[in-house]
Symmetry: C2
Subunit: 229 residues, 2 copies
């Protein structure tokens, strides 16, 4: 009965749990992280349910899950929405990101293999291409892929969800990248030292280079974004 057990089947992806709630959650999560919703955007259960063609049940659970991850917040009017940060909060987030993601980069420098390094080179090349074509959405997706390839190489199942939560928190502010004419090529420039440090297996340099990348990106965002008082 059935195919014989094969070693290939080790550690394959979970069956994706044909869970409606899970699908709604993934959908909203990616939308937030890719900057589809501006800061302060309010999301009502019924509106999302209607947009996705489901009932309210899966949506309210997905929204609540995203609140727990700090991707969304409960507005004072007891409604869901993307958080609106003050400049001080944005700065706080930037510093924590530099520290935690820098740490992940240092760990990655100790463990990364050749195949993953080549993967980073590939993404970096694709980003340069996306810059020329001014495909901002693709650029943001590639940037995300670049960073999380490194964080994945750090090999910590504890660290990864933490970093994802941090990215969910800046997510809404990526909308300003679309709105403004900011040249994303700067980010590309800051990626090169990261790759170089990883190749040299230099943890301290990797940490510094990645922190610099985050700092640069935050500086650009700070210029074009608007903040809560």
């Amino acid at each position: 009965m059935g195919l014989p057990q094969q070693a290939d089947l080790e550690g394959i992806a979970p069956p994706a749990r044909a869970n409606l709630q899970e699908r709604v959650y993934r959908e909203l999560r990616q939308a937030v992280m890719r900057g589809h919703f501006p800061p302060g955007r309010s999301l009502t259960i019924r509106a999302v349910a209607a947009a996705l063609g489901t009932s309210a049940m899966p949506v309210r659970e997905a929204l609540r899950q995203l609140v727990a991850e700090r991707a969304l917040a409960m507005l004072p009017n007891r409604s869901f929405g993307t958080p609106l940060m003050s400049l001080a909060q944005f700065d706080d987030l930037k510093h924590i990101r530099m520290r935690i993601e820098g740490f992940a980069a240092a760990e990655a420098a100790r463990r990364i293999d050749r195949a993953t390094l080549r993967e980073l080179e590939r993404i970096d090349g694709a980003m340069a291409h996306a810059v020329r074509q001014v495909e901002r959405a693709r650029f943001i997706a590639l940037n995300q892929e670049f960073h999380f390839t490194i964080y994945g190489a750090a090999g910590s199942a504890v660290l990864l969800p933490i970093i994802e939560s941090l990215w969910l928190q800046i997510g809404p502010y990526l909308t300003f990248v679309f709105a403004s004419g900011a040249r994303p090529s700067v980010t590309h420039a800051t990626h090169r030292p990261v790759i170089a440090a990883l190749k040299r297996r230099d943890p301290a340099a990797a940490e510094a280079a990645l922190a610099a990348d985050i700092g640069e990106a935050a500086l650009i965002l700070q210029r074009v974004a608007s903040f809560a008082p």
Copy 2:
């Protein structure tokens, strides 16, 4: 109509939102963090609802929220429960904790005020008392209060929920403290250098002392706990 606005009312606690779901969430969250549930303990929606005298609705949302914070996990049998870690995962968690909570301690050393320092002394004294009386539950609560007083002094709204998530993840392993005859006095000894470093406003020393405290505590837990293969 009503009382005149007073400056005293600035920044008071939110009205606690007489939310049933919120209350269930808080209850379960604290139970997990205080080590009321052993690793691998399964929690069914209906059982919790019955225990709390509510319907299933608030409970399922609270459970899902806790899954998002890594306090609970979805067991392969599609049921909720506290996570069961392997020794490698426990070690990973320990290292991330030492790094992130150490960083928080370093920040706290830069910003902590005299009143909070006195508060730490008070908690430390109470812990010594609890040790003598072998009140393990009280000891765990005080230890939690000690650490989070420091983390609160770090003054980062981004860092605090991250650390709370880390504590939720070790929570179940605190049950072994109750089960075993482990002497918690060691923890008290490692708290003294932390306080000393904070008093000296020495970030590096505070980070090292707090990391040492976490390392010591994890070592004790490692001895008495049992892990997944």
